[in-house]
Symmetry: C2
Subunit: 231 residues, 2 copies
């Protein structure tokens, strides 16, 4: 119902513009989501692009440009309506869609993610974890059951699963991904460190390499050292 209402208020324009939004802007939207969430919780209802710019450490013109891609939410001299902007970004990102996910691999990383508020905040509901370790299978993480990998197909036949989160060892990743694709699950959030390819008709894959940013950090330290040595 809510979804329909928003679409009606801004129908063609939003859809038309969305088609041409660059992946770079899309990649920045989760950051707006995070900041606006905090701003809303502070009770702020309206914010100018320059105030938002200061908080986010991004130029105001970048902000105006990014948000304009989706039809423009701001009004000249008034600033952005925070709850509206937040709702709109949630809508664009599909946060309100109530996606259901399973986590494949109930080790440290899988458990850490499930215990964090990350999924809940993004409107993703975790239905179950899966693991091969008999010591884990049958237990629960909070309210969420840890099931055996042998139950993957039967579980997914009974539940509508949108996303599979992969936190299992690298060498089991391809086999698990093939089973997930065969089940018609539409998205794979892959944290295993092994790159999976996006293929036509297959699930959308997002490969995450946490360690890459550690290397960027080491590069920055290394570069600063070089400067200090040259001074």
């Amino acid at each position: 119902m809510e979804k329909k209402k928003i679409e009606q208020s801004c129908p063609k324009k939003l859809q038309a513009r969305e088609a041409s939004v660059s992946p770079a802007v899309i990649k920045r939207l989760p950051r707006y989501f995070r900041y606006l969430r905090v701003i809303m919780r502070e009770g702020i209802m309206r914010i100018s692009s320059s105030e938002l710019s200061e908080r986010m450490d991004v130029t105001a013109s970048q902000i105006r440009q990014d948000l304009n891609c989706f039809g423009g939410f701001g009004q000249q001299g008034y600033g952005y309506n925070v709850p509206y902007l937040y709702a709109k970004i949630c809508e664009i990102l599909g946060v309100g869609e109530g996606y259901t996910a399973i986590v494949v691999g109930a080790g440290n990383l899988g458990s850490a993610l499930v215990r964090s508020p990350m999924f809940e905040r993004r409107g993703v509901n975790i239905a179950a974890l899966f693991d091969v370790d008999p010591a884990r299978v049958g237990k629960k993480l909070g309210d969420i059951p840890i099931l055996s990998m042998t139950q993957l197909e039967s579980f997914c036949a009974r539940h509508s699963v949108d996303v599979a989160v992969l936190t299992l060892p690298k060498d089991c990743t391809r086999e698990a991904a093939a089973r997930i694709a065969a089940l018609g699950i539409r998205g794979i959030w892959n944290l295993t460190g092994l790159d999976l390819e996006n293929s036509d008709g297959g699930p959308v894959v997002e490969n995450v390499h946490i360690g890459d940013s550690l290397m960027t950090l080491c590069y920055e330290i290394h570069r600063l050292e070089g400067r200090e040595e040259r001074v």
Copy 2:
């Protein structure tokens, strides 16, 4: 010694070009590092930009452009010398510098990271974990001791620590970061979800938001659904 030798073989050119390398290229280097590591382990000594392009799903011209930023490693008609390219990227990223890190927060995420081969592969040595929970303090994770947060200053006085990895709750993050900055630690790899600012003279900060890529994934699923509905 090793470092000096490499610098002598390619001194001014590398340094001069490095100064103008865009952050976008730097952000892509860890990916080259990962792929080249695998290619080396397969025993491949030489690779053309088109072969590398196919593996990495990046255009060959992008690869040539990226690697040319650092003085160019390839030879026309010969391709890239894999071990040399790998060594060079490691050198640029500071992988061989033998940085020492501490992990602040020995919960699920901290433990998952320490147990993974991520740090070792990137030449980062974990000296200790720190936590406030008495149930964790005094234990070990593999060979690595879990110390009390009260020992942070005394430990860092005795050990040379380059990087602090933050995996503690959001609401303790600012205080911990201030203590780390006061200790003169040069880098903070921040996985707490709370953005920390880079400040002049302070440690280099790399804020990691694992959840952002989950949102990008949800966006893609949402977008594909929209297309299917319109068909």
